[in-house]
Symmetry: C2
Subunit: 101 residues, 2 copies
Amino acid sequence: MKKTCGTCDMRGMLSFQILWLLSKKSMHGEELAEEIEKRRGAKPKAGTIYPALKELKNNGLIEGKKDGKIIKYVLTKDGKDEVKRAKAYFIRSFKDILLSD
Amino acid sequence: MKKTCGTCDMRGMLSFQILWLLSKKSMHGEELAEEIEKRRGAKPKAGTIYPALKELKNNGLIEGKKDGKIIKYVLTKDGKDEVKRAKAYFIRSFKDILLSD
DNA sequence: CGCAGTATATAGGATAACCGATATATTTAA
DNA sequence: TTAAATATATCGGTTATCCTATATACTGCG
């Protein structure tokens, strides 16, 4: 994914952002990539998003329900817990940046 | 730095967080490391924070004013602009996460 | 002065995110 | 039924963050 921001390259935030999006709504890979594009301005490539989804699945945080060529991803119980934990950590790290004028 | 959060390792956010902290207050390396520790829960090691500062200096975003053994870092004009740009990007990417209940 | 503590610095290496290219399966269009 | 488009998948490689040493400079204290 092209770097849209010189200073913060968001490396390491992809899995978190995926989990958070799935906590709002079940989606498939393409849909997730588009949602992330809306936010970051650059769309994660197939070679980025699918390995990330595989990793999350291997870690038991999401599971995929296949329907034809589309795989809809849903958070597992562990995934929901992880979103909570990760979000708390994220907020503790950055809330003052967001809240500053 | 140890991973405090399984899903989001914050890789790539260090420079941004340093710049933002410096936009609030001029600080030296140790001080920055402590401020980051307050937020992330883990303190960046010397081998992490000083190369990051060097990089920012090389890019003309900060400059260091040496006073004895202490080097106080200040944002340059370019640094201030970059903080603005990076912050706008950060907020666009993550504000819905920070604002969700 | 000599020693401990603090702040800065750098080299070397591990990790992992991400991409480019490529391949496969399914659906739709023609 | 064949072609095009969509969705998923994997591999190899690059890049940059971050860490573990280790080293140096300055300060203060005895």
